[in-house]
């Protein structure tokens, strides 16, 4: 192509381009005036929508909506800080009755909260297209409105974790039926009314703005006027926003907390542990006659699984991945304050799981590794899961430990969804990290982890454990149930079903010039809640 110089066309093209740019400059909005506003920067929700049931983890409007059951800000235990003042189940857990607080009120003058709102919310959130977390614990019931402030749910089978499904980690926010009847679901999209301490103002890509409800029906009102949520994935950017004063609270990875405190910021932590992390030797479909069983996997042999555990130097893991700020984990799904806790396992841990590379190597020899296995190379998945920025480094560290005791390994990069697809296809023949966040009730954790119909991210199944867990799930008597839980945890411990890593609190970095403290228990999937307890500097 020859370039012939022609002034006209050059000018023409030039002015077009400049026109476009001028337009762009004009559309740039001007800064809003500073107000008494708390800005939090965190990872984006699963999706930016006001329809919480349509995402696998919506927390942008957690300060706007409320659930039936609340959580104590310190202990995390269920309390009446939600919309229900009390609730109870019948003896066999097939009927749950909730009594609503009569004083609870909707934002934007949609009136008082009634049983009809609850029945409506139950219906829209358990539909076939819901993506909500734990919806299986909600589904299957019939709502019966007893009076304006009393509602019951009837189930064909015992529903022992219905309270869990209606508290912090559950997905059942209560939406207004009056608004729905008047405006349809679009009303929720445009101007969602909740009952919480904050009222929805606006949502823009990357940002949600809420304002404090003055004289909230609960009697408590936060001491600031606006709550702004900003969403950013890049850790360095989130830290920069905190240090530059653009954000007052920043949800940053642990490894950056030191940078924050070094610059005069402070760290606030959830009152309770908010998650457990383990590395799962997945793909163990060992129930009799399961076609997905793959005998070529070295970790079908319990000695190999013990060797994997023995190879890990957990002190170093806590140091390298969590900056020393993590507690040891004894058993996935088991938690001191929950049902079925087995204290002896903690005592046995050092002897049976402790770091012992020689023992690991010896176990490999006893198991005939690598020759006895068709697929001796251990595939370690490096993945990125929301809220767990340490997973890739963890994969590298595990590889180092495994290699040093004689395993053959490879790291496989895989996104979290692809890993889920492997599990759903029952071919997750890989080793990967997984988390229990928040720490679920023991029965939920056990069914989730060890049953075929549980979460796709877990893959240890054998007949004995399945029998114990299924029996536990069908047992109503609290004592018998707890015994079965203990039995399940002990069995899992002795069979090295996974590699327990750590139990973690959920920290955030705050600017002490704006924030005094923030008490939250760590009972939601992203660890945060109790937004009205953010205490700002006077």
């Amino acid at each position: 192509m020859a370039h012939h110089a022609l002034n006209l066309s050059a000018r023409l093209a030039g002015s077009t381009a400049i026109g476009v740019m001028a337009l762009a400059l004009l559309t740039a909005a001007s800064d809003a005036a500073a107000v008494e506003r708390v800005t939090i920067v965190m990872d984006p929700s699963a999706a930016q929508t006001n329809r919480a049931w349509a995402t696998g983890g919506a927390f942008d409007l957690d300060a706007v909506y409320q659930r039936l059951i609340g959580n104590d800000p310190e202990t995390g235990e269920y309390d009446s800080s939600g919309l229900a003042e009390s609730w109870e189940a019948n003896e066999d857990f097939t009927t749950w009755i909730f009594r609503l607080k009569p004083e609870a009120e909707w934002h934007n003058d949609w009136g008082p909260v009634t049983s009809a709102d609850v029945a409506h919310s139950y219906e829209i959130q358990t539909g076939p297209d819901t993506l909500a977390t734990g919806v299986a614990s909600l589904r299957g019931g019939t709502a019966e409105i007893i009076d304006d402030h009393t509602i019951s749910f009837h189930f064909d089978e015992p529903k022992m974790d219905f309270d869990f499904a209606n508290a912090g980690r559950g997905s059942m926010y209560i939406y207004s039926k009056a608004q729905f009847d008047a405006e349809g679901v679009e009303g929720y999209d445009n101007e969602p009314a909740g009952t919480g301490h904050f009222r929805f103002v606006e949502r823009e890509p990357g940002r949600v703005l809420l304002e404090t409800v003055q004289d909230h029906w609960s009697g408590t009102t936060p001491d600031f006027n606006e709550l702004e949520l900003r969403f950013t994935l890049e850790p360095a950017t989130k830290l920069a926003m905190l240090l530059s004063g653009e954000a007052d609270i920043s949800v940053i990875p642990r490894e950056l907390l030191g940078d924050a405190t070094g610059s005069g910021m402070e760290v606030v932590t959830s009152e309770q542990p908010s998650k457990q992390v383990v590395v799962m030797p997945d793909g163990l479909y060992m129930k009799e006659g399961d076609p997905a069983f793959n005998p070529g996997l070295p970790w079908t042999d319990v000695r190999i699984r013990e060797a994997m555990n023995r190879a890990l130097n957990r002190d170093e893991i806590v140091e390298a991945l969590y900056d020393g700020e993590a507690e040891p984990l004894v058993r996935y799904g088991m938690h001191e304050t929950h049902e079925g806790y087995v204290p002896e396992l903690a005592e046995r841990f050092e002897a049976e799981y402790g770091f012992d590379p020689e023992r690991a190597t010896q176990l490999l020899e006893e198991a005939g590794y690598p020759d006895a296995f068709e697929e001796p190379v251990i595939p370690i998945v490096s993945t990125v899961s929301p809220g767990s920025p340490e997973y890739p480094t963890m994969a590298e560290l595990i590889q180092v430990y495994f290699d040093s005791v004689g395993f053959q390994t490879e790291i496989i990069e895989m996104d979290w969804a692809s890993l889920g697809a492997l599990g759903r296809g029952r071919e997750a023949y890989v080793i990967h990290p997984v988390q229990n966040a928040p720490i679920r009730p023991s029965n939920v954790a056990l069914t989730n982890t060890f049953l075929e119909e549980g979460s796709t991210y877990h893959g240890y199944e054998d007949d004995a454990l399945t029998a114990i867990v299924e029996k536990m799930a069908a047992t109503i008597d609290p004592k018998a149930r707890e015994d079965l839980m203990r039995e399940a945890f002990t069995y899992a411990f002795e069979n090295y079903t996974d590699m327990p890593m750590v139990s973690l609190h959920h920290p955030v970095a705050v600017n002490p010039e704006a924030i005094v403290t923030w008490q939250y228990p760590g009972v939601t999937s992203n660890g945060l809640s109790h937004w009205h307890l953010i205490d700002t500097v006077e």
């Binding site: 920025p389 480094t393 990069e413 692809s418």
Partner: protein
Amino acid sequence: MPPPAGGVARGSGRSFGLASRYPLVPITILMIVLVIPSFFADLIAPHDPYAASVPNRLEPPVFAGGTWEFPLGTDRLGRDILSRTIHGAKYALSISLVGIFLGTILGTAVGLAAGYFRGWTDRIVMRVVDVSFALPSILLALALAAAFGSSFEGVIFVVVFVLWSYFARQVRGEVLSLRERDFVARARVAGAGHGRIIFRHILPNVMNTVIVLATLQIGVVIILEASLSFLGIGIPRPTPAWGLLVADGRALVVSAWWVSLIPGLAILLTVLSVNLFGDWLRDRLDPKLRQR
């Protein structure tokens, strides 16, 4: 993701002064940063690039208070940054060479065919080229990685995808004018077949352009690899590829800046020198590039 240095090469025939006056500077830097480490990494590197040592994690470089044990500091797992950066040269070089080699051959072949046969061949090829330009390569890479996982081969594929259409377009343009030249007409009159004309008469005349352009793509490829790693779809861990090292250390840019700075400097020096060298090469091999 940066585009191929397309606009740059297209008609940017003359090199700047620096390169032609000091061609030895970029060559020396390239030897030190890229070539020698690539071939002798095992001999030069003070440590095993994969050997972790948690107690020594995030040690600063010696000039920032560290020790000579780890002259340029250590990363999150206590691995020696110097050794990892040295070994990283291998991957920078092999991704560039393999990716550019494949992309160049494919693009040149297609460009030769389009420019020489014209008509429908040309029309179809150029539309495919258009499609390939209009498909955002980053999105393609993301979708591929989601489908097949990220791998060395995947990165090479993306490199080839980005480069081939660019080469096809450049070579086609060159061939279009070459085929009208006297020596081609003479060959045709003398009874030479298409194959002979293309390989004996036309290809040698575009070779210099191709070599110059290919050299200039080394920088593009290294930066591309870094962008892919930033998105988590680059060379898989624990391979110490430069882009991965920079991307991995970016969160620590304040407290442990050396983790990303050192491999970043390796990228900077390499790309800078490759481009200076490419400019110089262009002047030597293809001074008429701009006068097409």
